[in-house]
Symmetry: C2
Subunit: 190 residues, 2 copies
DNA sequence: GATAAATGTTACGGATCGGTAACATTGTCA
DNA sequence: TGACAATGTTACCGATCCGTAACATTTATC
């Protein structure tokens, strides 16, 4: 996961950047700090990524490809059983969201640079649409009464858990995400 | 609501600061811009508030007192009827969260300065605890099966709606917050 | 109208940050 | 070993930002 001390600087920088973006926010950390955390320096950072915005973009792409693995893992673990896949989605999303330095930089980034005209805006928006489509399809296949509304509920819960976890930590409502989400999913299954 | 052109500069500055903090985030706006938006200047800003952090703190206190009015409005509109109060809470929270420049700076601030050691941290944490206690009590009085868990669900939904509204706007899941929350409240009422 | 307080204006200091230039060092491959 | 690419180091520029100093102007109070 975290890049070992020895691997190309480009990877080390991406890993460090993602970690620090999660911890301090995109606008809350500087490129110098990122380069130093990557055991590299600002110059090589700018040789690999033309600007801080570009680095942000690459980090988001990295996160997106991990999200791809997230979906594939669910399908592989519950082949041909949409209802089980949905439960698994809830469980994994709960883990995902309540982990120390969680991998939801997509949500964070969305919240942080939607108000500006960042080059990654469109990318995030498209991704959000893609994930929603998939989740709607999964809910429908699992037999949800109103798949769209269920996805709305799950979306709000996930984003809320992410936000709550950051600000309230392990003592907050985020730790009960799975319990709540499971209950809501059940309610839609009749 | 918004301060007219003529009222003490202190109020104009607070209003402008709250507006800009909501729009750009606490770290995303400078004191110069705040002073200019308040039709004032940086010097008088610093004469009223010793530092930007102090200004943030005062803005949060202002928002907290408005939240007080929020609660009292609910109780006044539905006297002696906890179930109706809870429904009203959902409705008003929905309005609150899906308004152009919504008044949830408390949630935003929580997310933005929890990772740092901002002087307002403790204040926000205490406030969060207070609101949770009140909501738990209301849910319990309204006859919820598991008041604590219901509050967890509502908390996640509200924070999620706030985040989602900021990044996804009127087309996102936040617009269905009331529908989802009402459904969940109903589920707990048996 | 005089006096004092509050507010406005301009300029500046120190710090941080994104980004670049010039040069030194390391590593790789023939 | 020699040559070349990749990486590291230092220094710097311009912009932004928080905060302050000094002085000018308005406003309120007597």
């Amino acid at each position: 996961m975290t890049a070992a001390v020895r691997c190309p600087p480009r990877e080390r920088i991406i890993d460090a950047a993602r970690d620090l973006f999660r911890k301090h926010g995109i606008k809350g950390i500087g490129v110098d700090a990122i380069a130093e955390a990557a055991s590299s320096n600002k110059m090589t950072l700018y040789r690999h990524f033309g600007s801080k915005d570009d680095l942000v973009f690459v980090c988001l792409q990295e996160a997106a490809s991990e999200a791809e693995a997230f979906w594939e893992g669910i399908k592989a673990a519950n082949p041909g059983d949409p209802r089980a896949q949905l439960s698994d989605w809830v469980r994994r999303a709960g883990e995902f969201v309540t982990v120390e330095h969680c991998n939801c930089e997509l949500l964070d980034a969305a919240a942080q640079l939607m108000e500006s005209d960042h080059p990654a805006r469109q990318f995030i928006e498209d991704l959000r649409g893609l994930y929603r489509e998939r989740l709607v399809e999964l809910c429908r296949a699992a037999g949800a009464a109103d798949a769209e509304l269920l996805v709305d509920a799950l979306t709000l819960l996930v984003e809320g858990a992410r936000t709550n976890w950051r600000s309230a930590g392990p003592g907050g409502a985020a730790t009960r995400f799975v319990k709540v989400a499971d209950m809501i999913v059940d309610d839609f299954m009749r």
